[in-house]
Symmetry: C2
Subunit: 161 residues, 2 copies
């Protein structure tokens, strides 16, 4: 029943749930000794992060904006590094950092990268963004053409990724 | 990476999409030579079928009701037979026919049967019921605690299950 060489797209973010989704995928979807390619996607949405901090009505200086962009990129790198460590048994792992609304970007990338399946957590995309964007997984499940696997983090294992 | 002995719940209905979801699951989720148990669930929702036919305001006679119930059961059997044929390489296959609102029943059964993953198509649950109930998969993806895999039927293979 094994099928080889699939492109498995996993959307990861700062939340523990997406790491749990990745772990579940590695245990349950990636076949042993397969030629599957795992693509780890992190979407950074600077616009939303800025608006979350900017309650004053003043525009940020370019210095502040640059510092924030640098911070967001460091978070992205850190999340992808953590995710890659979980995939140490998978031969082909690719990472992508993209900009934009996670709902749109994840759907676009699933299409562009020719994903055979999209894997994601059920909650929003990062703590701040979730409030603004609503459920990313709901939107993707409705929009993406390939199969979508939504993995929730069980309450009993809270804290253990 | 293989994990054995999982309980994979697949919700099937009259639509081709659920058969496609089952096929995808068999190819991509069920491990070769695994101890996975595949549970095929068909939910019949007589109440909704009746209301679809009964636009007159008259109550059905018990004869008509019995005939309809018998018909619905035959459809259920036929769907499960078709589904079972697809699973001829899987050692452990169970079938269940349940009554009620598919959204509620599927979520309840995922919990009661201790499913490790729920697999379903993205559309409603049967042609008539879909209009009344809205998206079953959306509801289940939000409610069910275990991972949910939603598989859409690609347009290019329309007609081929």
């Amino acid at each position: 029943m094994a099928e080889e060489g699939r492109r498995i797209l996993v959307a990861v973010d700062e939340g523990e749930e997406s790491m749990h989704a990745l772990s579940w995928c590695l245990k349950n979807l990636v076949f042993q000794n397969s030629k599957d390619t795992l693509i780890l996607l992190y979407v950074k949405s600077p616009r939303v992060v800025y608006s979350a901090f900017d309650g004053t009505g003043y525009l940020f200086s370019s210095e502040v904006t640059a510092a924030m962009e640098s911070y967001v990129l460091r978070v992205a790198d850190s999340v992808l590094e953590k995710a890659k460590k979980l995939c140490n048994n998978v031969e082909k792992v690719e990472t992508r950092i993209e900009n934009g609304d996670p709902r749109e970007v994840i759907c676009d990338m699933a299409q562009k990268l020719g994903a055979d399946v999209l894997v994601m957590g059920s909650h929003g995309y990062g703590l701040i963004k979730r409030t603004f964007l609503g459920s990313v997984s709901n939107h993707c499940a409705q929009t993406v053409k390939c199969p979508v696997l939504i993995v929730k983090k069980p309450k009993s294992t809270a804290g253990n990724v």
